[in-house]
């Protein structure tokens, strides 16, 4: 969908609730900035570190299997894999700390009022959207979702991933420093840490690659084959108004639409970016296929063990 030209200086444009009326005479093509460079970089590093963590961690969980021994050999042995795993874990922890700092900043800016429209806190509208979607799944008419800044599936993913990454950080740190841990806690907590760390990793892998994140970022009809917003940072204003009507209307009402409009990228930069996105999509497909096969193998492993 083509982006529309907008006049961020025009008061009249900002007061009119339809995206077409935001068009104006200035020769600057604008787009809606959904994610800041900080958020995009954090996402990028989490994406890379998560993939490395899974690749280097799963062979340990299934160390008696042939494929795991082959992969360990590929990684240069258990010690080498452990170093890579810890390095990736440090990147992940840094990202988590960055996000906590980001949340602290929001808390300070809003003076503790961290809920409400446009936040990650679930609202009644999310429940209504979800019920509407499930009704559509089972044969009712397709709902016109009233999405705000974050949809219910994004909120679900955010909270699930936040809880998961906290568990992984705590249990991983316990295993990294077992002597320190057992100086404070009884030794049995290390067993608890191992079970939760490896089980949590398996769940996270399935959650990210097989049945939630990958689907919503790549295979939803609205974004197929890839939602580039997290990498590009923004999307055309008309597309944004269509996808997130509540946020768009709220910003127009409050007069804050101009705060999130940024100049569109130049055609040459878009060419480079398109190349990069298709490369990422291809690489993601390969990783997705590999991890999906792995999850199928785990499921058959479980079924076989009963």
């Amino acid at each position: 969908m083509a982006s529309i030209e907008t006049d961020i200086q025009g008061e009249a444009a900002a007061l009119e609730p339809t995206p077409t009326a935001v068009q104006a005479a200035v020769p600057v093509r604008m787009q809606y900035r959904r994610f800041t460079p900080f958020q995009r970089w954090v996402h990028f590093f989490i994406m890379c570190s998560f993939t490395v963590l899974v690749f280097t961690g799963m062979p340990l969980k299934y160390s008696d299997q042939g494929w795991a021994q082959w992969e360990m050999g590929l990684l240069g042995g258990v010690q080498s894999a452990g170093i890579i795993h810890r390095f990736a874990a440090l990147i992940m922890v840094t990202c988590v700390l960055c996000m906590l700092g980001f949340l602290a900043r929001i808390l300070i800016k809003t003076r503790g009022h961290f809920w409400g429209p446009g936040t990650m806190v679930p609202a009644r509208q999310d429940l209504q959207d979800m019920i509407g979607m499930f009704a559509w799944f089972w044969g009712k008419g397709r709902p016109q979702l009233q999405l705000d800044r974050y949809s219910y599936w994004e909120k679900f993913e955010f909270w699930a991933a936040s809880a998961g990454v906290m568990i992984m950080c705590v249990t991983g740190s316990m295993m990294w420093y077992p002597q320190l841990t057992t100086r404070i806690f009884p030794g049995i907590v290390l067993n608890f840490a191992i079970v939760n760390h490896s089980g949590g990793a398996l769940l996270a892998m399935g959650f990210v690659f097989v049945f939630w994140h990958f689907f919503h970022a790549h295979l939803r009809p609205e974004v197929f084959p890839m939602d580039k917003t997290m990498f590009e940072g923004g999307l055309p204003v008309d597309e944004y108004a269509h996808e997130r009507p509540l946020e768009y209307e709220r910003r127009v009402r409050e007069g804050t639409l101009r705060n999130v409009l940024v100049p569109e990228r130049s055609p040459s930069r878009r060419k480079v970016e398109n190349f990069l996105w298709w490369t990422i999509t291809g690489a993601t497909l390969v990783v997705w296929a590999a991890f999906s096969l792995f999850v199928v193998w785990v499921a058959s492993f479980w079924i076989g063990s009963f």
């Binding site: 799944f137 397709r142 399935g206 049945f211 939630w212 689907f215 939803r220 009809p221 197929f224």
Partner: protein, 36 residues
């Protein structure tokens, strides 16, 4: 046990959501109509 239940619950809910979204999208031609 609790791990298994959590994983099974999330897989069931998440899997159903994704599969039905995909299925309904295909059935209503949302992928071929170029709505994306």
């Amino acid at each position: 046990m609790s791990h298994g239940l959590l994983i099974a619950g999330l897989f069931f809910f998440g899997g159903m959501h994704c599969f039905m979204y995909f299925y309904r999208g295909l059935r209503e031609g949302l992928y071929s109509r170029g709505e994306h």
